[in-house]
């Protein structure tokens, strides 16, 4: 048998394998989603969003959980966005290439792969205990900010690196300073990809449970936080709490909570994709 037809067969075999594995993934996902919908859709109602958790499953809702999630996400974004994007811009555009920056780069890449529960331990030791922030919204937001910081730095650098050298060259050649070049050419050109990375990082943070449980986030809260120093819970913790209850009713609540959480991440990911699409259409080199 000649090489060409062998390659052709290999090609075909590989694409069948690829399609099969994609199909497998999609089917599993679909089954999960259908299952969750069957279990939880009956509980989705206005009052589910406006009720506090309760001992009676029919009365329980996710009010404190989604409000907590909004608070935590806001704090996380407020801290991680400026720091992460700023650090990414500095490392990519300003810092020289030397041993120190190589070392920093490797470490950031490693940090992005550290299991989230470790960040929880760090948050517990640093924010909750050392800085005496207690199990507050601030401590939770800071912990998640640390968690997604390396991801944001990496994706920002990636986005900046994708801006063609010719654009920088054109800008410098017309007598622009580095700051003008970065501010008016490089960042706008990379903006879509930077935002895509940020949204994907945030959508990862939305579903994080382990680090927040580690710092001691509550699982049952029947009031709304009024400020940064108040205790909190978030959607995934509420879901986790309901799943671990024996009553059937709570199981349905958990499923309904999962639908909400899924919807939220889906919306964020869709926003990321739309953004990328929008900017790709606008900017093509």
């Amino acid at each position: 048998m000649n090489r060409k037809s062998r390659n052709k067969r290999l090609d075909k075999g590989f694409s069948i394998l690829g399609i099969a594995s994609i199909a497998f993934g999609l089917i599993v996902l679909l089954v999960l989603i259908i299952d969750v919908f069957l279990d939880g859709s009956a509980r989705l109602s206005w009052s589910f969003f406006t009720s506090f958790p309760s001992r009676k499953p029919e009365l329980a809702g996710i009010l404190s959980a989604w409000v907590g999630t909004v608070w935590i996400m806001a704090i996380t974004a407020l801290i991680a966005l400026p720091l992460g994007i700023g650090a990414g811009i500095y490392l990519e555009e300003y810092a020289g290439k030397n041993r120190l920056t190589d070392f920093i780069e490797i470490n950031i890449a490693n940090l992005a792969g550290v299991p989230s529960v470790i960040y929880g331990l760090l948050g517990l030791g640093l924010f909750v205990r050392y800085f005496n922030l207690d199990r507050s919204i601030l401590a939770g937001g800071l912990t998640l900010a640390l968690l997604i910081l390396p991801v944001i730095i990496l994706s920002t650098r990636e986005a900046l690196r994708a801006v063609p050298f010719s654009i920088r060259e054109a800008s410098y050649a017309s007598g622009a300073t580095r700051w003008q070049t970065v501010r008016y050419q490089v960042i706008p050109a990379a903006f879509g990809s930077i935002m895509t990375g940020v949204i994907l990082a945030m959508s990862r943070a939305v579903g994080e449970t382990a680090p927040l449980i580690t710092i001691g986030a509550l699982t049952y809260i029947a009031f709304l936080p009024q400020g940064l120093s108040d205790p909190f819970t978030v959607l995934p913790i509420q879901i986790f709490n309901w799943v671990s209850r024996p009553q059937k009713g709570f199981f349905a609540n958990a499923a309904a909570g999962i639908i909400v959480l899924l919807g939220l991440t889906l919306i964020m990911n869709a926003a990321a994709i739309l953004l990328r699409h929008h900017y790709q259409k606008k900017i093509r080199w």
Binding site: I167, A170, Y172, G175, Q185, R284
Partner: protein
Amino acid sequence: MQNPTFEIKAMRASYGAKEVLKGIDINILSNSVTAIIGPSGCGKSTFIRSLNRINDLIPNFHASGDILYRGEDIYSGDVDVVDLRRRIGMVFQKPNPFPKSIYDNIAYVLRVHGFDMREMIDEIVEKSLRKAALWDEVKDNLKQNALTLSGGQQQRLCIARTLAIEPEVLLFDEPCSALDPISTAKVEELIHQLKQNYTIVIVTHNMQQAARVSDHSAFFLMGELIEFGKTQDIFTKPVDARTEAYITGRFG
């Protein structure tokens, strides 16, 4: 005898350990067009990109020797590189408009240099596009993204962008190599007109082009300047056998 715009003595340039210019001595005369010719890889781009220090962007690049621009050593510590690049404009091989509107491509370089009055920017945008022979083609679509223009139009936009800040010197690094013959003719015609007011250095691998547009020609080979003189002389009675071999197309 006019004062040379650039006086270059014993210029060397290297990327890391690789030396690519090995002692160049050349004077670039004011208000004339100097063509840099030579086979690819001989250091033409490195040479021209050293004149406005744009090659500083390349890590590991190093230039030494005397490179005097109007009597001033441009590689000395106290030169303001940003100002130098404003005074020495450059057009690149591949058109590199910003991914912005036609108008903003020019407005950006004006804003960079502190222009902020709207009417003034409007005026210079039009003036520069006219000088670059692009105005009539784009005047109704100034808000259109520059990347939707054809290659030849993009290159003329880049020329307009360079002219907008009124540099003293124009550097062209193979400005037509990515263009079709009609666009090439337009750009050449443009260079011909710009010659009145600017000192121009143009790298080209196209012999006819060098013969058509330049007053002086410099033949580079493997990092050395082999011959420099009036274009007419270089093309009709070259002194060095290697120059003759090159211009008659015997090696390339």
